[in-house]
Symmetry: none
Amino acid sequence: MTAEILSVGTELLLGNIVNTNACYLSEKLASLGIGVYVQTTVGDNADRLREAIRLALSRADLVVMTGGLGPTPDDLSKEIAAECFGMELEEDPAVREQIAAYFQRRGTAPDQVPDNNWKQALVPRGAKILANPNGTAPGFLLEKGNKAILLLPGPPAECKPMFENEAIPWLKQKQPGVFYSVMVRMVGIGESAAAARIRDLIENSVNPTVAPYAKPGEVHIRVTAAAADEAEAKSLTEPVVNRLYEEFGSHIYTTDESETLEQNIIGMLRERGMTVATAESCTGGKIAARITDVPGASDVFREGYITYANDVKSRLLGVREESIRRCGVVSEQVAREMAEGVRRASGAEAGIGVTGIAGPGGGSEQKPVGLVYIGCSVGTRTVAKRFCFSGNRALVRTNAAQQALVLLRQMLLEETENM
Amino acid sequence: MTAEILSVGTELLLGNIVNTNACYLSEKLASLGIGVYVQTTVGDNADRLREAIRLALSRADLVVMTGGLGPTPDDLSKEIAAECFGMELEEDPAVREQIAAYFQRRGTAPDQVPDNNWKQALVPRGAKILANPNGTAPGFLLEKGNKAILLLPGPPAECKPMFENEAIPWLKQKQPGVFYSVMVRMVGIGESAAAARIRDLIENSVNPTVAPYAKPGEVHIRVTAAAADEAEAKSLTEPVVNRLYEEFGSHIYTTDESETLEQNIIGMLRERGMTVATAESCTGGKIAARITDVPGASDVFREGYITYANDVKSRLLGVREESIRRCGVVSEQVAREMAEGVRRASGAEAGIGVTGIAGPGGGSEQKPVGLVYIGCSVGTRTVAKRFCFSGNRALVRTNAAQQALVLLRQMLLEETENM
């Protein structure tokens, strides 16, 4: 089965809101093995809406529409979808009842309900009505021949539960077989270097398919198989995932769809009974913020310092003034002393220290904008690495935070090997 | 002029990422007076990409494409766009040079650059090359007759600056007359409350138009006028902006398009010759990270503490153990002592202290997930406020960081009034 997503709403075309429904629906449909090849957004305009529905129906089995189900005259999704299938609209007494009840709960008597709202009781003849416990607009499922249109409300808080509870059970019935995908996440290697090493897989694999995704400082490779059941699908993905492990080894930090690098590192620290403390200059708290994004981070993270000014690095972390004078505050030596200093100050078993020039000002010929030193101290070892990031201030900071986590992970891995 | 947005990327169709580029570009195009009637997303598939480009060109003057400019064989945007305009690809020595330089800065010699990457030096003959200081993929502007295709990279950190710096100046030239817009940014008031107070403006204004945008913890109101020249446009927007100031007063923190709340606060601190220090628990560094996102933050920010564990709050900030025992660590009293304690520890003239339950665990009936106390100490006053945020961990943390900045701004304003 293939589907297209058709989002309706002028507020999307004006950039007033981000289309999170399209992302949510695409992911859900993919996980059900339903291919989505096109997403379209149009405004509340009858002609363009009609054209978009017809075009989508000509290409896909199912058109999933969001928005345009509200009570205003602008809202046209139901009307035009019914027209495309040659269905008439008729008032549904049960839906009328629900609308009355909805307003009653909010203290509005039926004769006080704005006229507009009764329009929501009109139903395309023969359509399945989808309950909306979170609003007044019901959803609809229209079927004709081997084509279908699913009409969902626009607000994500109404759209998502309706899709989950009303649409997914119907879709599962319709779908033969299963789709199963493994997300292989890697750090410490670039997208093109990674793609070059597995070009044969990317270009020649059909089932499973192999697709690389570049994320800031990471490469993700998705391996997706279609099969009659999950066991068969897994047997198709397994050899490919093994090949990726052979190729990339410890660059791979997870094959768990939802695991982030910071989650992975927190797991490693927890296993080892270690805590980590951070001392950040140019990253200004971004590393600590990423670590504490993870629920339960308090098991391995107790404190962090943002030492933005030079004298604060000395006062809080014991960085020697002489090191700053001799090597400069953006130097391997200072990154090293920050990483060691934050361990001393906090008593943590691992320490990170980052010092650099995020820009746009503050660069020089010897020390350009983007120069960052990252220190990491684990067990008896302290390592400091030099990086030269391109891009603007935000990118330098994001990359520095990412590489600090990558270095910490690497040190934790090496520490285990040495034991 | 009309435009369509065509986003390219299988990761969008699989729902791996939310399409924030489409939202950003739509808003920017609207502010330039360019109507966007359709947004489309397709994957890395030559046939569907070709069909989508042709269809968009048949309806709009300009097709703004994002994504598919990377180095892998999957990346086809440039190739198919050039084909649609009958342009050939040829290697551009200057772009090749830039790619070499990009890798050089990362310590990769030219003969070590993955073969793939040289593909990015291929340029459609006659196209304008758009610089990408934030990545290896340049953008392109292709013109043929009265149609144009703008090719932008997919990563938002590359797409947005390129659009801002390279595309907007070109678009402004193309547009007859001027569109002039003022962005009025407010905090401390909700979107529906704000919209209700200026419903007449939003519904009845034609030139200028008045449109509210809800952002996390902020309301932005864009006032856009079309006129023959900028002076005339300004004379149209001015009375509306004045009306907004009458209505919302000090809720408005800026009418400068590019000024963020943190920039505004840094400006206020700098004017007053003050510094601020942060003590964060549940926000874990996010407030400091936002402050240090701003170039030149070092003038007003010297140090910050992430005091995640209870005893760290006492050790580093002097929060009394008795307060934690008596009131709980998530309490007004502890937020207050954190804000005052961080001023003592740092010598800063302003201090922020945040303690809360970000979830998903750790909540109770009395202290549910989402409960956050924010303390702020400025001059001789310390204030602590209670918040109860909804949403998941990320949302609670983001909202808490935002409201901490809002409270700091309010305290700084009141401090000045009292002087």
